[in-house]
């Protein structure tokens, strides 16, 4: 099948075969990293602009490496060093960068829906690298790649996503992806971090971690942002760990072949115990590695590199 989208603004709306195409392409991209010369000319002379309006180390460097491995030219633009700090609007920023003839924007921004906003002002493709609490599609795709490597397929997989569900873009993208691919998703966290109506996205919701984790094939822990506690969303980090921290003890309740995931950065001793993060069930560092492959695949497909990377 051929890729037919200009942008990747979210997972919502992608068909199963489109997700599979990205994952298959990503597997081929992974092979590039094993070569002595870790670079292909697929996106030579394409200009990719990384627009980061929010701090990010992992996602940003992952995208940058992906762009470089595909031989794209890159421009990094961060809010703190740009005209944004002088009060320029997002649309004006785009209109300016647009005249540098970019082929693609990779954008991270704190407001949901910014991709939709700027799509009216650019001829380039847009990859959403996280828009507020809305979507973070490449994260869900790299999670999916990791799950598929370990579990083979998604059909009937029992997945638990636990932590700060309310403020997470990762969870929304993962819900859409896993539902589309036929997995069963449960979300879990303290009631104050579980948004009302979350079940309308097609998941089960629970505040009881030990019940929720029972028999799960995949356990995905989300980062607890430390400022949530000071805003009164839960009483203390210690209490959080006691009720929702993923310990070895609790992990025993899951399926015996469970895998443990985390989009990072982790708070050890808050949402996850070190023994689990570094333990035999953890695939957390595989996720990081797959991030580069998935982002290569997305850029490659969006920028018309064609279907088969092995030709390069």
């Amino acid at each position: 099948m051929n890729w037919r989208h200009k942008h990747l603004l979210g997972i919502e709306g992608l068909a199963p075969e489109e997700i599979t195409l990205i994952l298959d392409t990503a597997e081929k991209m992974a092979e590039v990293a094993t070569r002595p010369v870790k670079k292909v000319p697929a996106l030579r002379a394409k200009l990719v602009v990384n627009l980061f309006f929010e701090n990010s180390t992992r996602t940003r460097s992952s995208f940058e490496i992906a762009e470089k491995r595909l031989s794209a030219d890159t421009l990094n633009f961060s809010a703190s060093t740009s005209s944004v700090s002088k009060g320029e609007s997002l649309v004006d920023t785009i209109l300016n960068v647009e005249r540098m003839m970019p082929d693609c924007y990779v954008m991270r921004h704190p407001s949901p829906g910014v991709g939709q906003l700027i799509s009216g002002f650019t001829k380039a493709s847009i990859v959403n690298a996280g828009d507020g609490a809305h979507e973070h599609p490449t994260q869900a795709l790299l999670d999916a790649m990791t799950i598929r490597q370990r579990k083979g397929s998604f059909k009937g997989l029992r997945v638990l996503i636990a932590g700060d569900i309310a403020h997470s873009r990762v969870v929304r993208s993962n819900i859409h992806l896993l539902n589309t691919m036929g997995a069963e998703v449960t979300v879990c966290g303290p009631a104050t971090l579980l948004p009302p109506h979350i079940e309308s996205l097609g998941v089960k919701a629970s505040t009881a971690f030990e019940e929720a984790i029972r028999g799960k094939d995949v356990v995905m822990m989300l980062r607890i942002q430390l400022e949530r506690q000071t805003r009164g969303l839960f009483p203390s980090l210690m209490e959080y760990y006691q009720r929702y921290g993923l310990t070895e003890e609790r992990l025993k309740l899951a399926d015996k072949d469970v895998i443990v995931m985390h989009p990072g950065p982790m708070n050890r001793g808050v949402e996850i115990a070190s023994e689990v993060a570094d333990g035999p069930y953890s695939v957390i560092l595989d996720q990081v590695e797959n991030g580069v492959s998935v982002r290569m695949a997305v850029l490659y497909l969006l920028l018309g590199g064609g279907e088969d990377v092995s030709a390069h």
Binding site: S89, H109, P112, Q116, P195, P196, L201
Partner: protein, 425 residues
């Protein structure tokens, strides 16, 4: 100076009239309403096939001047009102400076008079600078021409202040209009809290942020015995609380906007900032309740909450965009298309909500009716003609509306103000 409106279907809920009649106007007042009237030398307005209603009054408009002339001026706002079929508007005091003094009220009235035939009824602030602390000088405001009081855009947070405002304003016969919002509960929300907000990752404003202060205001109406008018009701439980209060004969009245009886939170799905308002677009069941409330009169008036914002202010990230849309030129067609054509409310109730109820609430005894002696303000509209608003038709300085290009059955054809005819553009 005689004007004779011939063969119109005169709909006047204040007298129960609904039949084809002629209306004779002399020197700005109604002289006679009857079949087959004649008047030598009179200007004739043929209203065959049209509804002739008492002039529509929009109780909730932001004219933005003074202070925000980039969004709207008194002149452009009133041009929009005229084009939309309104013979009068109330303008909210959240200007810069806030209308909490006779001088601002007089400035607005002077500007309005120079710019447009549309009557303007300024609304003064409930508290000085709308800060929610000290009462504004109500007697002075009334003397200068203010017809009601509101801190619209903000709630009156303190119950003690609201109580005193209702007591003091009530003794002067000024209507107190409250923007009911628990801003603490609403938090940083930028849309209705529901299945759409959870999908989009936008922070939600729960319905209870409106319901809790509505219930407080109803309690204060009981305590003080004075009327409170609830602005832009958007929730089912809000409608139900008001309905129950009215059943107990408490002095509570209320209003609703066309966008709250037309659109749901699903309008936000594409992150269109013209779907962002406060109170936010709610769920289907809330829209249904607003329509039911308008039908049975629980919600007395239809108002636009006309809120112009400049292009660059709305062309930003959804959660950073200002609240509100313009509404003066779409309100009547939306009500005709979505409420009357569909038989959700009667034509009579629609005219009542646009004309008689606002006149009643504002104490405008010579308005809101078509009877000898009443002021000759009328709105003439067609049930058959179609409205399709295009950007170039917009009279407002700002074009922030989600209703552009929507085909609506029903159209304003002309307004008459003080006996003079102004055909709709």
């Amino acid at each position: 100076m005689y004007l004779l409106i011939k063969n119109g279907r005169v709909v006047d809920p204040s007298s129960g009239t609904d039949e084809t009649l002629d209306v004779l106007i002399k020197d700005g007042r109604v002289e006679a309403v009857d079949k087959k009237l004649e008047a030598k030398g009179a200007e004739i307005l043929d209203a065959t096939g049209l509804i002739v209603a008492p002039g529509f009054i929009d109780m909730h408009v932001h004219l933005r001047e003074p202070g925000y002339e980039r969004k709207e001026t008194i002149a452009t706002g009133l041009a929009a009102a005229l084009a939309g079929g309104f013979t009068g508007v109330c303008c909210m005091p959240n200007t810069d400076p806030v209308n909490d003094s006779a001088s601002v009220t007089r400035f607005i009235l002077d500007r309005a008079k120079a710019a447009s035939p549309v009557h303007v009824y300024p609304i003064g602030a409930i508290t000085k600078e709308s800060k929610g602390e000290e009462l504004a000088p109500y007697a002075e405001l009334r003397e200068a021409g203010a017809r009601a009081l509101s801190d619209d855009g903000k709630p009156v947070v303190k119950a003690s202040v609201m109580r005193r405002a209702m007591e003091y304003a009530g003794s002067l016969g000024l209507l107190v209009i409250d923007h009911c919002e628990d801003t603490d509960l609403a938090g940083e929300g930028s849309m209705h809290e529901g299945t759409v907000s959870v999908r989009l990752g936008l922070k939600g404003i729960p319905a209870e942020a409106e319901i809790i202060p509505i219930r407080r205001d109803i309690s204060l109406a009981r305590l003080t015995g004075q009327r409170v008018h609830i602005a832009h009701v958007s929730t089912r439980l809000g409608v139900e609380a008001i309905r129950a209060a009215k059943k107990k004969r408490l002095p509570v009245s209320a209003e609703a906007t066309p966008h709250h009886f037309t659109l749901t939170d699903e309008a936000v799905l594409g992150f269109d900032t013209n779907a962002k308002m406060n109170p936010p677009l709610r769920g289907k069941d809330d829209v249904e309740a607003v329509i039911e409330g308008l039908a049975d009169g629980t919600l007395d008036a239809i108002v636009t909450d006309h809120a112009p914002h400049a292009y660059e202010e709305k062309m930003v990230e959804f959660d950073r965009a200002p609240n509100g849309i313009i509404g003066l030129q779409t309100a009547v067609p939306l009500a005709l298309d979505r409420l009357v054509k569909t038989d959700r409310i009667s034509l009579k109730r629609m005219v009542d909500a646009f004309s008689c109820a606002p006149a009643r609430l504002l104490g405008l005894t010579d308005k809101g009716r078509i009877a000898p002696g009443a002021e000759a303000d009328f709105t003439l509209f067609s049930l058959r003609k179609q409205t399709c608003l295009k950007a170039e038709d917009i009279q407002s300085l700002s074009k922030n509306t989600p209703f552009l290009g929507m085909k609506l059955k029903g159209a304003v054809v002309a307004v008459v103000i003080a006996g003079r005819v102004y055909p709709a553009r």
